[in-house]
Symmetry: C2
Subunit: 199 residues, 2 copies
């Protein structure tokens, strides 16, 4: 004997999520039975909702329920600066800093020839278009410091060479609160090279 | 700016599940957007289903979609033996052994006066009723080896003292594949005490 069909189905669904194995899926399915009716209704509705209601912003490819995302349609923000990120979740991370008031551009991937991801497979063309059309003054490349991230940054900066736009890259260095002895030597080297005078 | 409302709602729902924190909930919600439409439909339906369709068996309190669970309604099983467990998930664990062919009784908790759980709060009365009415020959106590488990086992066996029924308890000892040096001394002591002759 196994769990009744409905529970079994729910376990299978949880198992399809990343990082959720059989045991955890079982625990989550049984825990779901204890949730309030309203929460279950919201849960079930939101699941369908993220598939049907959520679109990509027609300008920056951020997640949105409208044609334009909340950032692109916010006139109080600085539309002269674009911060280029890999995924929609990076937008939220930068927003949490509370210090950036420009716009974003979500590439939805990084150039990676080995994985068959070429420049035309991610939203680079639309970024180049935007920079020309919207009269953007600064492009901040905020991609992760991996081979793919560096390749993508390099590709974009080459493409923008002839445009009248400042291209910057976020700083790599020692994260705040880090224990110096656990920082890898590449990062330490970068931090040393990018040192700045104390004003 | 934060995620669009629908995603935010989904994150909040995932966060209500045990062991799922903010970061994981965010990851799961974003991953849910990538699931197939059919899977999302099944997921959403099963979530509502576990709240509406799943009931407790009217005999043994196991999870079921019918009045009686698959085990209680299976005439091929040995209805003379009842294995007493704490939770429905324990039934599945014992079923996976493939060696037990009797029935079960789910207590839905253990006696724990400190947490305000008294014998009348869990399904003990219905167990005693069943033993008298169904002419049960053996009751196997398969509760966890904790103070609550032992208290509950003791309480049930006291209550059944005058009944014509054999009461047994599952064996405690060294689990298969365990490294002897990591076994705690209480378990080792139990294993020693419950030693049996090699036949």
């Amino acid at each position: 004997m196994n769990y009744p069909k409905t529970i079994q189905n729910l376990i299978e669904c949880y198992k399809k999520l990343p990082g959720i194995g059989g045991k955890t899926a079982e625990r989550l399915a049984l825990a779901s039975m204890q949730l309030d009716d309203e929460l279950i209704a919201l849960f079930s509705e939101s699941l369908v909702g993220v598939k049907t209601k959520i679109k990509r912003c027609n300008t920056c490819y951020n997640l949105t329920e409208e044609e334009k995302c909340m950032i692109c349609s916010d006139q109080a923000r600085n539309h002269d600066i674009v911060c280029v990120v890999e995924e929609p979740r990076n937008v939220i991370s930068f927003e949490k800093t509370g210090t950036y008031h420009g716009t974003y551009h979500v590439l939805d991937g990084l150039i990676s020839p080995l994985d068959g991801v070429n420049p035309e497979d991610i939203h680079i063309d639309s970024l180049l278009d935007r920079i020309k059309k919207e009269n953007i003054k600064e492009v901040i490349l905020a991609l992760k410091p991996s081979i793919e991230g560096e390749t993508t940054s390099l590709y974009i900066s080459k493409k923008l060479e002839k445009e009248n736009v400042i291209i910057t890259k976020i700083a790599h260095g020692i994260p705040l609160g880090a224990d110096m002895e656990y920082i890898d030597s590449l990062t330490l080297g970068m931090a040393l090279e990018d040192r700045k005078p104390i004003s």
